[in-house]
Assembly symmetry: C2
Homo-oligomer: 248 residues x 2
Amino acid sequence: MELKKILEDKSKESWEIYLPNLSIDCVVFGFHDATLKVLVLKMKDSLVWSLPGGYVLKEESINDAASRILKVRTGADDIYLQQFRIFGNLNRSEDFFKDYPDTLWHKQRFVSIGFYALVDFSKVIPKVDELSTNCEWKSIEELPEFMMDHRFIFDKALATLRKQLVHKPIGYNLLQEKFTMPELQKLYEIILGKKLNRGNFYRKMLRYDILNKLDETRKGGAHKAPDLYSFSIEKYRKALKNGLNENW
Amino acid sequence: MELKKILEDKSKESWEIYLPNLSIDCVVFGFHDATLKVLVLKMKDSLVWSLPGGYVLKEESINDAASRILKVRTGADDIYLQQFRIFGNLNRSEDFFKDYPDTLWHKQRFVSIGFYALVDFSKVIPKVDELSTNCEWKSIEELPEFMMDHRFIFDKALATLRKQLVHKPIGYNLLQEKFTMPELQKLYEIILGKKLNRGNFYRKMLRYDILNKLDETRKGGAHKAPDLYSFSIEKYRKALKNGLNENW
C-alpha cells in the first residue's frame, strides 16, 4: 500500500488514542567493526531517511511509549533508552506533510522528545515496519540525508553521548560482553571525536578498576592476539555514580 | 478572587490558545549569603508550594514559552534558561484537581518540560502573580512541602546542575560580577554536595585560567579582606567547550 493511503487510514484512530502534539524520536546507537552506527528507516515513497519515531498513548508513560515505538518500528526489544532533549521549535514537521489535508494526524505541530538507545549490535535484527521500505544500520561517518530536523536530533544525541561518557554506562551497553582494550579505546575515540593516547587510555581505564581481565584472547588477527576484558558490573555502577572523571 | 473561580475563568481560553497536554515547570536557582536558593510560589487556597509553571502557546517555541512563563509568574526577565528533562509519567497532576469538573483545562494529563534557570540573585525582584499569594526565595536546605511531583522535579534539576558543573557556565550566571574565591568554592560545594579542599580548589580554578584577579578586595569582614575576581568570559566559554574536567 502506498504511504499516503496508510497515513490517511491511520489518522482517525491516531486522534483517538494518542496525546496530540507530542511525538518521540529515537537515536539507536550500535558498535560494530570498529564503527559507531545508528539505526535508520526509509519511509515508503520517500527519498530521505528518518529516525524511528512515534506517539504517546493517552494512558502510557513516555518511557513506556519509547520502548513500544522502538519495538514496533525496528524490532529492537528490552534495550537501554534515555531521554536526552525535547525539540520544540515551530514548523519542525508541518511542512513535510503540506500536500496532505489539514485533518491528517501527522500534519499537526509536534513537540518531539528525543531518546537515545545503546544496544549490543549483535542482538538487534532490524525489522521493516509497514511505513518503511528499509530499516538499516548506517555508520555515523556516512549518514544519509534525513527528513525534517532528524539530522539535528541525531547531532544532539551524539553530543549528549559525548558529555555523558563520564556518567553513564555507555561502554557496557554498546560493547559485547567480552571485548579488547583496542575496541574499548576505539569506542571512546569515536564518541569523543578524537584520537587518544594508547598508554594514557589503558592506564586510566585500569585505574578505575572496573574491568576484569579474562583468561582468553581474541583469536584470528594478524597481530599478537589481544587480551579480552569484561566489565565488572558492580564496580562499574559504583564508579559511574561518582563520574568517570578526575575527582575535585 | 478565589483560586477555583480564577482557574474556571481561565479554562476556556486556555483550551483555545495553548497546546494541550504539555506544560513547563521552571526551577530557578539563585545564590545569596553563601546559600543556594530556589524561587517558589504558593498558590491561593493552597498549603503547599509550587515551581513557577505554565503552558506553551500554539504558535510559540518551547524556549520562548519558558521565558514568557517565568516573566509572567515571577517577574524574572532575560535569564539563562536550560531544558533539562521531561516528566511524562501518568497521574502527575490529575489527582490534584480531582474536585474540579473534567472539562477544566488544568485537570487534563500534562507531560511537563523541566527548565532550570540560573540567575544573579540581586537582579530578580520576585513578583506575586494572580494565581499566587507568595513568590519567594527558599534555601535548598529548607525547602517547603511541594505540590504534585514538584519536589522530584527540583531534585532532578539539582542533580543536573551537579553533572553540568563541568560543561555549563554555572558559576558565571549565579555569581555577581565580582566575587571572592571562598564564594566560588562555596557555590561548588553546595552544588556538588560536599566539602572541597581549599588548596586544591584554588589550584584547579587558577589552572583553568578563566578568572581575572581584580585590583580590589571585599571590605567589611572580620578577617583579612579577600581578593575579588571576575570571569574572563572569552576564556571561560572556550574552556567550557572542552569541559572543565581533566582531559582524556
